[in-house]
């Protein structure tokens, strides 16, 4: 019994230990890595990615997958910029209205995702991938391939205004991570995600409306993608049809590295937070220690495998698909 507990605890804390080990490793090679200013840089890079990763965490916990994030982030970012400029171009003049608008659009994308998946009985993998393409296509259509810039200093304060050395957006993301944790642990919806992921048949037999839980999950994910879209605009001051590019790889990798099981029911928001930090620490650290860029992609791949090996409990899994 004691041994079991120890093993469970080890698995549980493994992602965090991996993160700490990486920080120690990079610091040992280049002490400049361990500086508040560098941590702020890592946090800025991680902020939008974390929102995407938290969104997809809910879906993965349900045992489904959502690959629409790139299209959803691009489309919400672009629409947010257009709405922001149309409403006056500054936060004070009415641009703030673009924020709820983007959240609604994100939710709608998620809703369509969920409906296509559940009502048309298309696997979530295919339904969401297709919706992602639709989102990117719509973003291309709206922008015509151009860049939309936002110059408002008040909105950009998310990046430029610092409290204790960290930009405002980092605090926003921390608050939202707690919100996501609250949804996960203290709402019926959050518990239902685990019920569906842990055993869909059982959840259904217990009277749970699995279809509704799935659709709601996709809506929630869509809202988080919209937040990521807006943070990306705050970070780069612009949106275009490729704003969401690369988020699929980063977010899914982070979720898995953090110890959330792709087969559902295991892991949660804090795993994802640690996973996103691991991936971003690796990305930043490889440049800081002076690793040549042609080695970096390969090294990232190896470190990801290593992190997954250390941080997921695969002992009771009979099949890995």
């Amino acid at each position: 019994m004691t041994r079991f507990l120890t093993r469970e605890a080890a698995i549980r804390w493994a992602p965090l230990l991996v993160l700490i080990a990486l920080v120690i490793l990079f610091t040992a090679i280049n002490p400049d890595f361990f500086a508040q200013r560098n941590f702020a840089r890592i946090a800025i890079a991680a902020a939008p990615a974390l929102m995407v990763a938290i969104g997809v965490t809910f879906i993965i916990v349900m045992g489904s997958i959502d690959l629409s994030m790139e299209g959803a982030v691009s489309l919400t970012a672009v629409l947010f910029c257009f709405a922001f400029l149309w409403l006056g171009g500054t936060l004070a003049a009415g641009g703030w209205l673009a924020i709820p608008l983007a959240l609604i659009v994100g939710g709608l994308i998620g809703l369509i995702n969920g409906l296509v998946h559940v009502k048309l009985r298309i696997p979530s993998f295919m339904a969401s991938l297709a919706m992602g393409f639709v989102g990117t296509g719509a973003a291309v259509l709206i922008t015509g391939g151009d860049i939309v810039r936002i110059e408002d200093d008040t909105f950009r304060a998310l990046l430029t205004w610092r409290i204790a050395g960290f930009p405002l957006m980092v605090y926003v993301v921390v608050i939202l991570a707690f919100l996501a944790w609250f949804i996960q642990n203290h709402t019926t919806l959050g518990r239902n995600f685990y019920a569906v992921g842990g055993g869909e048949e059982l959840a259904h037999a217990s009277g749970l409306n699995v279809r509704r839980v799935r659709i709601t999950g996709f809506v929630l994910a869509g809202v988080f993608y919209a937040i990521a879209g807006m943070l990306q605009v705050a970070k780069l001051g612009q949106a275009e049809s490729v704003t969401g590019a690369n988020f699929m790889f980063i977010s899914i990798t982070s979720v898995v590295v953090g110890g959330v099981a792709l087969w559902g029911g295991i892991g949660g928001v804090w795993n994802t937070v640690v996973g996103v930090l691991i991936v971003n620490v690796i990305n930043n650290g490889m440049v800081v220690i002076g690793l040549p860029d042609y080695v970096q992609d390969g090294m990232l791949g190896l470190l990801v495998i290593l992190a997954v090996v250390l941080s997921t409990d695969r002992r009771n899994i009979s099949f890995v698909k």
Partner: protein, 370 residues
């Protein structure tokens, strides 16, 4: 009869006559395509159908290329819709399949401009066009051993842009702005991309004349704004205050660099870019960017299609042209704060009207192989 009524009757006669002319023309215009399928286009393009095969519409660059093609088509008295857009979405297979389908549909009478997507795909593309009896120009991608003069008149010309010299010019400007000393970092495109390699080489060429400038690091940010922002942040941790200037291989990455610096409260760092996109030119005007390089994709897109079409209708015979007219570099212009406003007025706010029969007017010379 009062003059008023006389005038009125006279005017009505003219209107009626105009109306009849107009209807006749309209009927022909609507009837002919009904019978012949693509009648209207056939009439003005000398029996040839025109197409541009390219990657996608998701960037200002390809939009400018396409606008050039459309401008050429319009110069023939046709409409934009008479140019077929063959979008390959970054797939060489689709690029080839689309071109074959287009030729089959038009019984080989196709004049095509194409970016074959990657170098090895250029040969199958030009051979497919030759075998069908069509005419093609390519831009950017072809292998060094493939030459229009070896394929024949059907492979009219290849157009590319050398990144080396303009990138070197931008680097020199950057080093002078840095006062000839200090550290510089480079953010490059996807490593194996020819433009990425050339633009880095340009920087290295300029370094030879500035012994006190140190190239601290050069890494790839995949032409991407977000990756560039993150790479620049990591550079700041590694090199800190040693960085006195930034050399970027394209505009999009420069936007990311500017934002990464803004996040740190760093202003006034000289940064150069490449592509001459409208946003970059605005940043040059504001002084946030030291310079960018404009390659006039509008002209490139127009002249590539014009060459294919003009060879098809026999306006010139490719085999009678010298090699530097069959493989040539497009133009490039270094845009700095001093001339940004003038540049914007000429090239971005308005589109210059080009004489498409002046086929090599803006050429920067024949392509040189190393």
């Amino acid at each position: 009869m009062s003059t008023f009524i006389k005038d009125f009757v006279e005017r009505e006669k003219i209107n009626r006559r105009n109306f009849l002319f107009a209807s006749a023309a309209g009927l022909t215009a609507t009837a002919v395509p009904g019978i012949l399928g693509r009648g209207a286009a056939f009439a003005d393009a000398g029996g040839w159908s025109l197409a541009w095969s390219y990657r996608d519409r998701a960037s200002a660059y390809w939009n400018a290329i396409v606008s050039g093609g459309e401008a050429y088509v319009e110069s023939l008295g046709l409409t934009k819709e008479d140019m077929t857009n063959l979008i390959n979405e970054g797939s060489s297979e689709k690029s080839l399949a689309d071109i074959k389908a287009f030729l089959a549909k038009n019984a080989g009478k196709g004049a095509i401009a194409s970016d074959p997507n990657d170098s090895p795909n250029a040969r199958p593309v030009v051979e497919a066009v030759r075998d069908a009896g069509g005419y093609v120009s390519t831009i950017w991608n072809k292998t060094d051993d493939l030459h229009p003069w070896d394929i024949g008149d059907n492979y009219v010309a290849h157009l590319s842009w050398s990144g080396e010299k303009p990138s070197e010019d931008a680097a020199r400007l950057l080093f002078e702005k840095m006062g000839g000393e200090g550290g510089v970092v480079h953010l490059g495109g996807i490593p194996a991309n020819i433009p990425a390699v050339e633009r880095l080489n340009g920087l290295k060429n300029a370094l030879k004349d500035f012994p006190n400038i140190e190239l601290l690091d050069e890494q790839s940010a995949d032409w991407d704004t977000n990756k560039a922002a993150e790479l620049m942040s990591s550079y700041l941790t590694r090199y800190g205050d040693k960085i006195k200037g930034v050399h970027c291989a394209n505009d999009n990455m420069a936007y990311g660099v500017i934002e990464a610096l803004k996040a740190e409260g760093i202003t006034g760092m000289p940064i150069t870019a490449f592509d001459g996109n409208p946003e970059a030119v605005d940043l040059v005007m504001k002084g946030e960017l030291l310079a960018t390089v404009f390659t006039n994709p509008h002209w490139g897109g127009g002249i590539a299609l014009a060459l294919a079409h003009q060879a098809a209708i026999g306006a010139f015979k490719p085999s009678e042209e010298p090699n530097e007219h069959r493989e040539f570099y497009g133009p490039s212009i270094l845009v700095t704060q001093a001339d940004a406003e003038e540049f914007k007025k000429t090239y971005l706010d308005a589109t210059p009207t080009y004489d498409w029969t002046d086929r090599w007017g803006l050429s920067a010379g024949g392509i040189v192989y190393k």
